[in-house]
């Protein structure tokens, strides 16, 4: 294998990207314009469908004979829209929250029974109450969860105490995560999907590039030289990974300029860009599959949407507003796992070593390499001079 050949072909591909106006627009300008337009005007997500929320509960109230905390858990379950998961400690609950396994964690304070008893003894005399605070940690990766869960919790506590909505209450719900960070905007929820979105259009570019080079005889010409298929494919993958990296950087700069500033460290950014790079490998694979079944560059443009649209609608920010069936279908496209991991990293504050992130990365890596191998194999089998 000669690095000289790989470097020359990679350089050629990058020059093409810069010098061909159509390619330049589709790969760089289109995602930037889209992010700007969408990010600036996006008004929110969510629909009218019935949803179920998974809430982790850590019960610190162990000294009670009244067993008030069990009453709260039962009341939450009775709402029919809350699935309660009980944790023995806050750390375990926080880990599951950061990995997206639950959408909120509620801490029942140690003096809850005492507070409830004080209220029931003198419901009309707030001066006699023992006030207490429930801490509520929310999944910052879910716009719907952050909006819906706090009022449900507050309403449930009010019901348990037998109060009316308007009266004062000894129980305060403090949404801890939202208190600590900046105000969350709709952009924060769609930004992770935008990083994924930008790279998806590489499918079209790869398909067009291969069919064009096939049509004008360039692939034949390269095959006549001592360049091996491995050297050629490596140069293509390197080129498109480089383009994906630049795309991700541009989209990040644009979302940052629009106000997306996640509180994460440099290692998280490095991991996120690595994830996007890995994802670009699958797009090269899908592009090759498209080129295999396309008779011309024009046909490749149209057929590439067979792969672009599922990735776009099922695996990026668009997926958050789709039906539950569509969201299940999303689990069959790599982009879903990329967006999910980026959401966990940027919004849920998950560590890059957490099981959910590592699982997403493993799924993305295995699926993307598999798609690339299938793409190369199909192209090699059916490509004719």
């Amino acid at each position: 294998m000669k690095l000289q050949r790989i470097a020359a072909l990679t350089k050629k591909e990058l020059k093409k990207t810069i010098r061909e106006p159509a390619v330049l627009f589709m790969i760089f300008l289109f995602p930037i314009i889209f992010v700007f337009a969408f990010g600036a005007s996006f008004g929110g997500v969510g629909g009218s469908q019935t949803v179920t929320y998974h809430i982790g509960v850590v019960n610190m109230d162990h000294g009670s004979s009244v067993n008030a905390s069990q009453t709260v858990l039962a009341a939450l379950t009775d709402t029919k829209i809350i699935n309660v998961h009980v944790y023995v400690d806050n750390q375990t609950a926080q880990n599951d929250l950061s990995q997206g396994n639950v959408q909120a964690v509620m801490i029942i304070p140690s003096d809850f029974s005492q507070s409830l008893a004080s209220y029931q003894a003198a419901p009309d005399n707030p001066a006699q109450w023992t006030n207490t605070t429930f801490s509520l940690y929310l999944d910052k990766g879910s716009l719907v969860a952050t909006q819906a869960i706090p009022p449900i919790i507050q309403q449930t506590l009010t019901t348990v105490a037998g109060q009316s909505q308007q009266t004062p209450s000894p129980f305060q719900v403090q949404t801890a995560s939202l208190v600590e960070v900046k105000t969350t905007s709709a952009l924060d929820f769609i930004a992770p999907g935008m990083f994924t979105f930008a790279s998806i259009f590489l499918i079209m570019m790869v398909a067009q590039s291969f069919t064009q080079d096939r049509e004008n005889g360039m692939l034949k010409r390269i095959r006549i030289t001592p360049t091996t298929p491995t050297e050629f494919m490596i140069s293509q993958v390197i080129s498109y990974m480089g383009i994906a990296l630049i795309q991700a950087a541009l989209v990040f700069a644009m979302t940052h300029a629009l106000g997306f500033t996640p509180s994460v460290g440099i290692s998280t950014y490095v991991f996120a860009f690595t994830l996007v790079l890995m994802f670009s490998v699958s797009n090269v694979g899908f592009g090759l599959i498209t080129a295999t079944i396309s008779k011309s560059a024009g046909a490749a443009t149209g057929l590439s949407f067979l792969f672009v649209l599922p990735q776009l609608f099922l695996g990026t920010f668009v997926g958050a507003s789709l039906s539950s069936d569509a969201q299940v279908a999303g689990k069959f496209v790599p982009s879903y796992y990329v967006t999910n991991a980026l959401t966990s990293l940027f919004l849920r504050g998950a560590a890059i070593t957490s099981p959910a992130i590592l699982l997403d990365f493993a799924v993305v890596s295995v699926s993307c390499v598999t798609i690339l191998v299938v793409g190369v194999a199909l192209y090699a089998k059916y490509y004719k001079v």
Binding site: Q4, I224, T225
Partner: protein, 248 residues
């Protein structure tokens, strides 16, 4: 004939029901400029594609500089240069960048590549336009650039598939002069063309192919004398009953 650069024995190629090449046997000597003549679809390009390792023959064998084109195609590719029939260049690269790219694909030494690139660009009359995007070139300039790409690696054997097709007379004569110079350098050249005057002007020997079969082989003069005609065009007409411009 000198030592053989190319040995073809009983070569055949079938595409489903179509026979593109049938039982072709011939040898091309080192330093020879051999013309492969015939109308479009006669089997010329199929022959070149087999010799370059692009297409597998259905029957027969072929060696290039002693290397089997099927079993040792990597070695063969290092020794040959091919000017394909299509005007294949990267339009978004400049002329010089196209040449540089293909030199790198042959893993040429940088200094040697630069020197040969400049020499070929000058000889083909593209020096003034070397830094322009190749997509902006005229048809003749693109064909000349395509020829440079085929010769950048200083090949021992050059396969030139219709190198002068669609060229203006001036460009065509520039290419002819260059081919004569290559011949003086003892390069072996396989030239396919359907311009009979080109073959008469340049070729040491010619083979005429029709419907995938070799129907005549010899020097242009031998074929003209043997068939008692005035030129190769008439040789082809006499042997096939058609002009070479007609489809095979």
């Amino acid at each position: 004939m000198n030592e053989s650069s190319i040995v073809i024995e009983h070569l055949g190629k079938k595409y489903q029901d179509t026979t593109a090449l049938e039982d072709l046997t011939l040898q091309v000597g080192k330093g020879e400029l051999f013309g492969l003549l015939g109308p479009n679809g006669a089997g010329k390009t199929t022959t070149i594609n087999i010799l370059c390792g692009l297409v597998k023959p259905t029957t027969g064998t072929a060696t290039v500089c002693g290397y089997d084109v099927l079993k040792e195609s990597a070695k063969v590719k290092e020794l040959i240069g091919v000017c394909v029939q299509e005007t294949s260049i990267y339009p978004y690269l400049t002329g010089a960048e196209n040449v540089q790219l293909f030199g790198n694909l042959y893993a040429m030494d940088k200094a040697e590549l630069n020197a040969r690139r400049n020499m070929l660009i000058t000889k083909m009359g593209l020096a003034e336009d070397a830094k322009r995007r190749a997509g902006k070139y005229s048809g003749g300039m693109k064909r000349r650039l395509s020829l440079i790409l085929a010769l950048i690696n200083d090949p021992q054997i050059a396969f030139l598939d219709e190198p002068t097709v669609a060229m203006d007379p001036q460009s065509r004569h520039a290419v002819w002069d260059f081919l004569k110079e290559l011949k003086r350098e003892e390069k072996t050249i396989i030239l396919t063309t359907h311009y009979m005057e080109e073959a008469e002007e340049l070729c040491d020997r010619v083979g005429i192919i029709d419907h995938g079969k070799l129907i005549a082989l010899g020097t242009p003069k031998e074929l003209i004398v043997k068939n008692r005609v005035n030129n190769l065009e008439e040789v082809f007409l006499k042997l096939t009953g058609r002009t070479i411009r007609e489809e095979a």
